[in-house]
């Protein structure tokens, strides 16, 4: 019994004297709670999602209908995009001012309910019916999960190894040869890029086969987004690892980089109900752009042009992180 008590006391001392670990143990749950509270701070009270193509004047019957508190209005410049979303139950009804038409999904109960309300308030619209499979939560979440997996593989796979090699002297041994930081870093980058793209590709194929995912867009576009996303996060990993002296510090920094992205980059839930500043902050994170681009291509059928702003951002982030990492890189701790 005394052996147990002695070990128990010693272990508790080890724990509370590790200031970094104990700080993280209390701080981290607090951050998660705060992030979730902010993410869901503006709850959506609407019941039906109404897509609008074109313009309807505010003082018309349609205008009045759109201002009802149970209606959420989503505007579309492209009729085709609106139809696609209606087809997959992401809109309950779609209205177009071109020819005063509306579309409902015959397979959606919400669609038939909102149609009744619409017809109650308006008249003279031509009915069109379309059908299509509902975008399930799993169809919505898998692009986020793929992006998350890409992030962990890229950041921890390259960042942690470089820091460990710096700590145990492998990098110092390389420094004693003619190879340059460019040789070393580019080899790490390309190796990790191939690994994460292949692994993520296999996971994607598995999801397609076993989860019957909706993929409306081009597979080549998905590959391009994956490659650019991997590059942006590998170079972020290189930046984090460029000077970090030991694995504990690297682990802390990698967690600081990854956990905000997990909570704010649209992985598990959308930030549509979060304050604007939080949504804007999320746009500085590479995972946000990867997930949004993958999701747009997979469940909305977005083209390369539609997601180009995400790709440009990822390319810029890659160049910036790589440039700074190369300048800061150290072969060994001072």
């Amino acid at each position: 019994m005394k052996e147990f008590i002695a070990l128990f006391i010693a272990r508790n001392k080890e724990y509370y004297r590790d200031r970094a670990a104990i700080g993280w143990a209390f701080l981290f749950p607090l951050l998660v709670i705060v992030a979730c509270a902010l993410a869901f701070s503006n709850p959506d009270t609407s019941v039906f999602r109404v897509g609008v193509h074109g313009d309807f004047a505010a003082d018309t019957a349609v205008g009045d209908f759109l201002e009802q508190p149970y209606i959420k209005v989503l505007r579309y410049d492209s009729l085709e995009r609106g139809l696609e979303r209606t087809r997959h139950h992401q809109l309950d009804i779609l209205l177009s001012s071109e020819g005063d038409r509306y579309w409902v999904n015959s397979q959606s109960t919400a669609s038939s309910a909102v149609e009744k309300l619409f017809l109650n308030d308006t008249e003279g619209f031509q009915r069109e019916e379309i059908s299509g499979r509902k975008v399930r939560y799993v169809d919505w979440v898998i692009p986020g999960v793929l992006g998350m997996n890409l992030m962990f593989g890229a950041l921890f796979g390259v960042g942690y190894v470089i820091v460990r090699y710096r700590h145990n002297g492998v990098l110092k041994r390389f420094h004693a040869t003619p190879i340059t930081a460019l040789h070393f870093l580019s080899a790490q980058l390309v190796s990790r890029l191939i690994i994460v793209v292949v692994v993520n590709g296999l996971i994607f194929v598995g999801c397609l086969l076993f989860l019957d995912l909706i993929v409306l867009g081009s597979y080549l576009n998905l590959l391009l987004i994956t490659i650019l996303g991997a590059l942006s996060m590998i170079t972020l990993g290189l930046l984090i690892a460029s000077r970090t002296a030991n694995e504990e510090l690297a682990g802390g920094m990698l967690n600081i980089a990854t956990w905000p992205m997990l909570l704010m980059s649209d992985v598990w839930f959308t930030l549509d109900e979060a304050p604007l500043w939080m949504q804007q902050a999320a746009n500085f994170m590479p995972l946000t752009h990867v997930v949004k681009a993958l999701r747009a291509v997979m469940i909305e059928g977005a083209s390369l042009t539609d997601v180009s702003h995400h790709l440009v951002w990822l390319a810029l982030m890659t160049a910036l992180c790589l440039g700074i990492a190369s300048l800061l890189f150290r072969w060994h701790k001072r």
Binding site: Y165, G169, V170, R173, A176, P178, I179, R334
Partner: protein, 295 residues
């Protein structure tokens, strides 16, 4: 005098104001084994790492073949650090092949395997070798580019006596091939055996330098002639040198062993237990610094 490598007034002061190297100057002639001898913390590793280009000096000059070391320096030097890990999961052969590709000119891997006796564990993971095996591999990596100058930082620290002797044989074979070796050590026997020239360092400074023989003759010209006595000191009146008579041992400190032996034989002293003890570098270090190497 043409030095292959020369350092002038080299200083290294770390950010916490610790002066690790405090104005060190010496020149290394080609083809010799040059030693930096001193206790832990003397500044040997910092000095050698500045020469290798791993650490930047705070001030001072390093000249390789009369000029500042340029891009050619890393192609022409081989380095073995005091402690190194190697990349995970690679075998000895794979590590040799990896490093082989770092240099414009490199020796065949098989030649290095033979020279450094790596054959018995060539397919084992590099990070799973014993101490002696790992040091032989690290030496092979330091020789892979057939360098002109090889830096060895405490290469036999932590090795068992047999591994140490094996390693010394390897270093001696490198010397016969005309390479210049720069060696740091805190082992006196290693410095005496291998080094043609030495600097003795303590607290970041050079205390003295020269060949081991020169340093010993300069500071410790005396030898000790010892005889066992069984409680009765023999009659030694008029003998040259300083006599120290203990209960079991008589010690005669003399500058000429031949003269002392002649005097002992003249007096008919039994010489069957005679021993001559030459001063060692350990004795030299104590004389020069006032403290032992392992204080």
């Amino acid at each position: 005098m043409t030095y292959l490598l020369e350092v002038k007034d080299l200083r290294k002061i770390y950010r916490n104001s610790v002066t690790a190297v405090d104005g060190v100057s010496f020149g290394i002639r080609p083809g010799i084994c040059f030693g930096l001898l001193g206790p832990n913390g003397a500044g040997k590793t910092t000095t050698i790492e500045m020469m290798e280009g791993i650490t930047d000096p705070t001030s001072g000059t390093i000249l390789y073949k009369g000029k500042a070391p340029g891009k050619q320096f890393s192609q022409q030097t081989g380095i073995q650090f005091q402690s190194t890990s190697l990349p995970d999961f690679l075998t000895v052969r794979e590590v040799l092949e990896l490093f082989h590709n770092f240099y414009k000119k490199a020796l065949p891997v098989e030649l290095l395997v033979e020279q450094c006796s790596l054959g018995e564990f060539i397919d084992r993971e590099a990070n799973k070798l014993s101490g002696g095996q790992k040091q032989r591999l690290l030496l092979a990596l330091a020789l892979i580019n057939d360098p002109e100058i090889v830096f060895l930082d405490e290469p036999t620290t932590g090795l068992d006596p047999q591994s140490r002797r094996r390693f010394w044989e390897l270093i001696q074979s490198i010397k016969t091939r005309g390479k210049t070796i720069v060696l740091t050590t805190h082992y006196m026997d290693e410095a005496e055996l291998l080094c043609d020239e030495l600097v003795i360092m303590d607290h970041g400074r050079i205390v003295d330098q020269g060949s081991p023989r020169f340093l010993l003759d300069k500071h410790l010209p005396h030898k000790r002639v010892c005889l066992d006595i069984d409680g009765h000191a023999p009659a030694l009146a008029g003998m040259s040198g300083e006599l120290i008579a203990g209960e079991d041992q008589l010690e005669i400190i003399t500058t000429s062993v031949e003269k002392t032996l002649a005097e002992l034989m003249q007096r008919g002293i039994d010489l069957s237990t005679l021993r001559v003890r030459n001063p060692t570098l350990e004795d030299l270090f104590i004389t020069l610094t006032g403290h032992q190497l392992r204080d």
